[in-house]
């Protein structure tokens, strides 16, 4: 399988750079997988898991807390709000995120904010279910 360039950056640091075969991205409108010569796309991401397939059997899974994914002819760039490798992600972190989301929902004053908070809470719950923690 052909490789392409992939970069994962968070505001604090550059987490990953190199050639990979495929990356699964949790887009806000649905998951998609980027492979070589993917059509240029720019999308926002929901909290979820980025699945990086390096070469052959090597793979890396990271939790991202939303952000942007940018697919161009040069490759894929993910600008994550926050990214944590899955093996370093603790159940408490997820629980804390869910609690935050619940509080946001309770605090939301406008219809718009409420819908946004609800969406976020659903996404986090979904994530917890997927992780099985």
């Amino acid at each position: 399988m052909a490789a392409f360039h992939f970069e994962l950056v968070s505001p604090e640091k550059l987490l990953f750079t190199g050639n990979v075969e495929a990356v699964g991205v949790p887009g806000s409108d649905g998951d998609f997988t980027v492979m070589k010569d993917h059509a240029p796309v720019m999308t926002t991401m929901r909290p979820g898991i980025v699945d990086v397939n390096e070469s052959g059997s090597k793979s890396l899974r990271l939790f991202v807390r939303g952000g942007f994914a940018d697919v161009s002819s040069k490759g894929l760039t993910i600008l994550a709000e926050q990214a944590i490798p899955l093996d370093q992600l603790k159940a408490e972190d997820v629980a804390k995120e869910i609690k935050n989301a619940e509080e946001d929902l309770a605090d939301a004053s406008t219809e718009d904010a409420r819908a946004k908070a609800q969406e976020r809470l659903d996404q986090m719950r979904e994530l917890r279910a997927a992780l099985g923690v």
Partner: protein, 287 residues
């Protein structure tokens, strides 16, 4: 003529000061290393962010949202002045303030209204003497040990909220860019309307998910947070660099002072011994 005792206390007090400046220099050097690596680690994100933004904005038809294109006016200017929380770092704070002050005076000469948002106490101290009525707020980062993105996010949210409330038309960020330990460059950077680095890139045939407007609506506030974050990190590195070199100077000056004072002390002591000897000899001769 100072007595021997006076000279001794003077020397020991300079020695004590030298110890303090030496310690501060070493602390600053250690902190500088950390601040520098943090600033370097944050660079890729802001670079990619700029590239992505240029890409999206390049493909935009028409003006785009207010954060990008401005609200069509430039009457009220907001200056976000980022300085340190502590002094004793050479001309670091005053050079940022000087740049801001020049801008304020230039803007006021043009008849514009100026509002100031201070980040860091030292800049506020210096600016409030002259422009206390124009300062709208002071953001204190004293409690922050390790600068995190959330700190910048809070400041950016505040700026955006002010913009949306129509409090100002143009926002400019003042901070010090870190070049090296001896060179920090005070810089002014326009935040709102967003400045696209490298001009409008060639619009590639992008697909946007969800839509172009929605992406820009999340991307632009994010970009402001990133810019503020970068400014704060650069500032932190510059501050430590400035402190390190100014404390190095202070230590060296103290060393010179000790050397001079020691010579004076030795001379005085010798003069006194000679005087005593003469007294004894002339006393013996008189017998």
């Amino acid at each position: 003529m100072a007595s021997l005792k006076d000279l001794r206390t003077r020397i020991s007090s300079v020695k004590a000061t030298q110890k303090i400046t030496k310690a501060m220099q070493m602390v600053a050097a250690a902190k500088l290393r950390r601040a520098q690596s943090a600033a370097e680690a944050a660079r890729p994100y802001s670079e990619r962010m700029g590239a992505v933004l240029a890409n999206v904005a390049g493909g935009m038809k028409g003006g785009g949202p207010a954060l990008l294109a401005g609200n069509g006016k430039d009457q009220v200017h907001l200056l976000v002045v980022c300085t340190a929380e502590r002094g004793l770092c050479g001309a670091f704070n005053s050079s940022i303030v000087r740049l801001a002050r020049e801008r304020i005076n230039a803007l006021q000469a043009q008849g514009k209204t100026v509002k100031i948002l201070c980040v860091g106490k030292k800049g506020w101290d210096q600016l409030r003497r002259q422009y206390s009525s124009q300062i709208i707020d002071l953001i204190d980062l004293r409690a922050v040990r390790q600068l995190a993105f959330t700190d910048a996010d809070i400041i950016a949210k505040k700026i955006i909220a002010l913009f949306e409330a129509g409090e100002f038309d143009v926002a400019t960020l003042f901070f010090s860019r870190f070049r090296s330990v001896i060179a920090q460059i005070p810089t002014a950077q326009q935040l709102i309307p967003a400045q696209i680095e490298g001009g409008a890139a060639t619009a590639s045939a992008y697909e946007y998910e969800p839509g172009e407007d929605e992406i820009l609506a999340t991307l632009l506030p994010r970009n402001i947070s990133v810019q503020v974050f970068r400014a704060l990190l650069e500032n932190a590195a510059s501050e430590q660099g400035a402190r390190m070199s100014s404390m190095d100077n202070a230590t060296r000056n103290a060393g010179e002072m000790i050397k001079k004072q020691t010579i004076v002390y030795n001379r005085t002591r010798q003069a006194q011994i000679t005087k005593e000897l003469i007294e004894i000899i002339s006393g013996a001769e008189a017998l």
